[in-house]
């Protein structure tokens, strides 16, 4: 099949409407491009939303994780547990700060880390665990935190997929020592590009704030007594303004995403489509950024859907632990991560953004048509 229909349903959804446009213009006429009132307000609103004390806005989620790891003084000689099925920034930042990523396989049921597998990878060098709430579904945090406390290991929560999601009633991103989120155009809260780190520890917050801008505190003019080697990864005011609008809609959008997920699950069951959604654990309130299923003949299905104007994504087709640069950086092959490798062959992220509406049924119909016996 060579002809493709125009794309009608995309897995990537970038909201940008009149209210956001207005917001983006708000700081533009002013003289302050960064470190200004919009960033302040965005940080404040996010801490209120999460029920946390401190937030540090950055130029990206990756930058947020980087400043967090530096603030926790993770570096050469340290090992960091990162999920094998996850966005590459966890391993990337680990290597960037000079530490070694130890890739942990994930569970079949939720595609997330679990404490038993993590425990298997612990060593005397382990300094931190990066718990990615994959697709928006919470990692089982209590046993993980218990293990971490006993071993004096930090838990960093990657809530890039999962803002608004909960674990036993607690908001994701607020449970570990430090949490962070991304506001890139595919995330639940969008600021075009940007990230934020959260913590209740004032000392770490201060350090993260300094690391994001050459070692200076907010509002500092050029100063010569910097004691820390930072970088420049600040968020600009326009991004913060858009992020604030997006945050104000987060709960409403997540509710729609949850309805979409229910509609998919129901349609898949009713039409007997042989794809398998992941489980939702009783302690998780799913953030549902990505509605992911495991699909037989996945690549054929993708082509079939694409020809019908349905654009899907894969999170993730190429597991980071096998990426050439990452293998080279650690200097040895960690061996297969069986579940991750299997998922990489089967998973597909179906379009489920808040504007999908009845489009969900169109996607289900198309999948049913693909799997129909001929």
């Amino acid at each position: 099949m060579s002809m493709s229909a125009p794309v009608k349903y995309q897995s990537m959804w970038t909201p940008f409407d009149a209210e956001m446009r207005e917001a983006m213009l708000r700081p533009t006429p002013g003289p302050v491009y960064y470190d200004g009132p919009e960033c302040d307000a965005f940080e404040r609103e996010m801490t209120a939303y999460l029920g946390m004390r401190h937030a540090v806005a950055t130029s990206s989620g990756t930058a947020a994780l980087y400043v967090a790891m530096r603030a926790l003084e993770i570096g050469p000689g340290d090992e960091v547990i990162v999920p094998a099925n996850g966005y590459l920034s966890a391993a990337e930042c680990t290597i960037t700060v000079g530490a070694r990523p130890v890739y942990c396989d994930v569970q079949e049921a939720t595609a997330n880390l679990d404490v038993e597998t993590v425990e298997h990878h612990l060593s005397s060098k382990t300094r931190a665990i990066i718990a990615i709430h994959t697709y928006g579904h919470a990692v089982d945090m209590d046993p993980l935190i218990e293990l971490a406390r006993a071993r004096r290991i930090y838990v960093i929560e990657d809530a890039a997929h999962a803002l608004g999601g909960e674990y036993k009633g607690r908001r994701l991103g607020s449970i570990g020592d430090v949490g962070f989120a991304s506001f890139a155009r595919k995330c639940v809260t969008v600021a075009g590009q940007g990230g934020m780190a959260f913590t209740n520890n004032a000392g770490w917050a201060r350090r993260m704030m300094r690391l994001r801008r050459h070692g200076w505190d907010r509002g500092d003019p050029y100063r010569g007594d910097v004691a820390v080697v930072g970088l420049n990864c600040v968020m600009n005011e326009c991004q913060a303004a858009v992020g604030r609008v997006s945050l104000s809609r987060l709960d409403r959008h997540n509710a729609i995403r949850a309805e979409n997920a229910a509609r998919y699950a129901e349609g898949i069951r009713a039409r007997k489509v042989p794809v398998r959604p992941f489980a939702v654990m009783p302690w998780a309130r799913h953030g549902w950024l990505h509605y992911v299923v495991r699909a037989p003949r996945r690549d054929d299905l993708l082509a079939f859907l694409r020809a019908r104007g349905i654009e899907c994504a894969i999170h993730y087709r190429h597991p980071v632990y096998r990426a050439p640069a990452y293998l080279a950086a650690t200097g040895d092959d960690p061996g297969p991560r069986l579940v991750t490798d299997r998922l990489a062959e089967e998973i597909v992220t179906l379009p489920s953004h808040p504007d999908m509406g009845e489009g969900i049924d169109v996607v289900v119909d198309a999948m049913a048509a693909f799997y129909e016996p001929r």
Binding site: M24, G30, Y34, S60, T96, G224, V229, P324
Partner: protein, 372 residues
């Protein structure tokens, strides 16, 4: 002395109707990142500098970082860095795992061949000459050394977009050059940076590391990480603002140069005992900062502040005295020129929107201070 109402500031961030309109247009089309505005901004800055490639990033610091990463400068390597510069330079060198070798500067505030040669070792891999205040470094002798020793030369042109050395634009003189577009820089788009180079491989190496090392050929579904990278993209909005300001840059530079000429004339005529900036015949400076060397600098600064005149210090504390970098060069006596400059240099307001009256008021106040 009563305080005056007038305030003369060292910098002004201009947002005019053209910028407002441009922002609105961008917002109608593509609000976020990796779009046509950034591609055009890259092409326009590269063409302006007379080189083949531009790679935009979210800050000048990030641009330098990308250049070092792309050239694989790392552990065990030494990088020559003048001590009289912005913290981002040693910051990036340390970030990639290399060692900054801090050096003194020539009396003009720039790196020179003799200084470079004094610091060469078998581990030297790169030199980062800084076009301080917008005055181009004497690059030919430095490039000679670099050729002989196969060293990578990164021009720090954060102060100097548009400046020329022997008729050639800064940024095109080394292997790669980078600019900052932050609030105080010469072409402003809020917060961003760019590296320019004629080396296509280097440009591609920087571009892929700017976005997680993704292999650009794999497409947009999910990407293969060929290399380690980070996320150092800039935004479409800022690129669009930068494009507007780039078109105005030559007019602004001319205004800054005229300010410099007036200052020098007035300060000489008033016999103020200050040292004025010197321009060699091979230099067409960018004049971002008009910097004098002033006896009793701090008293002069306070005197001016009382009269509503803001001044700045570039840089109040040289790198070798900053706690984060001190260990690199514990003996301040190795930096006599930079030490003397840190004690007596003063940046006067000289942005393109200064009126002749404001400029005269600053010069008169300096003459008055020394006449008392």
């Amino acid at each position: 002395m009563a305080k005056v109402e007038r305030r003369i500031t060292t910098r002004l961030t201009v947002v005019d109707d053209e910028i407002r309109d441009t922002v609105l247009q961008v917002l109608e089309r593509t609000p976020y990142y990796a779009g046509p505005e950034t591609a055009s901004f890259e092409a326009e800055v590269a063409a302006y500098c007379g080189v083949g490639h531009g790679v935009a990033a979210n800050s000048g610091t990030s641009s330098l970082l990308l250049a070092l990463l792309a050239r694989r400068i790392g552990a065990g390597d030494e990088v020559i860095v003048p001590t009289n510069t912005f913290v981002s330079v040693p910051e990036c060198v340390l970030f990639v795992g290399a060692t900054p070798i801090l050096t003194d500067v020539e009396p003009d505030g720039n790196l020179g061949r003799a200084i470079v040669e004094r610091h060469l070792t078998s581990r030297t891999r790169a030199i980062i000459p800084v076009h301080t205040f917008g005055h181009p470094v004497e690059m030919d002798p430095i490039m000679d050394v670099a050729r002989q020793r196969d060293l990578f030369v990164v021009e720090d042109a954060a102060h100097a977009l548009g400046a020329r050395y022997k008729g050639r634009r800064v940024g095109s003189l080394g292997h790669v050059g980078f600019f900052s577009f932050a609030g105080k820089s010469i072409t402003v788009c809020g917060q961003a940076g760019m590296a320019v180079t004629d080396d296509a491989d280097l440009a591609a190496g920087m571009a892929t590391r700017r976005v997680h090392g993704w292999n650009q050929e794999v497409g947009n579904v999910w990407h293969v990480a060929d290399r380690l990278g980070l996320n150092l993209r800039t935004s479409e909005l800022l690129s669009a603002i930068g494009r507007v300001n780039l078109r105005k840059l030559d007019a602004w530079t001319a205004a800054r140069a005229a300010n410099a000429e007036r200052y020098s004339a007035k300060l000489s005529a008033g016999r103020a005992p200050v040292t004025l900036p010197v321009t060699r015949p091979d230099q067409d400076p960018g004049w971002l900062h008009y910097v004098i060397r002033a006896p009793r600098r701090d008293a002069l600064r306070a005197f001016l502040r009382e009269r509503g005149i803001e001044t700045q210090l570039h840089y109040p504390v040289p790198l070798h005295r900053q706690p984060a970098f001190q260990a690199l060069a514990p003996d301040p006596s190795a930096f006599p020129v930079a030490e003397a400059m840190a004690a007596d240099m003063l940046t006067l307001p000289s942005h393109p929107w200064m009126t002749a009256a404001d400029l005269a008021a600053v010069a008169d106040a300096i003459v008055e201070f020394y006449g008392e």
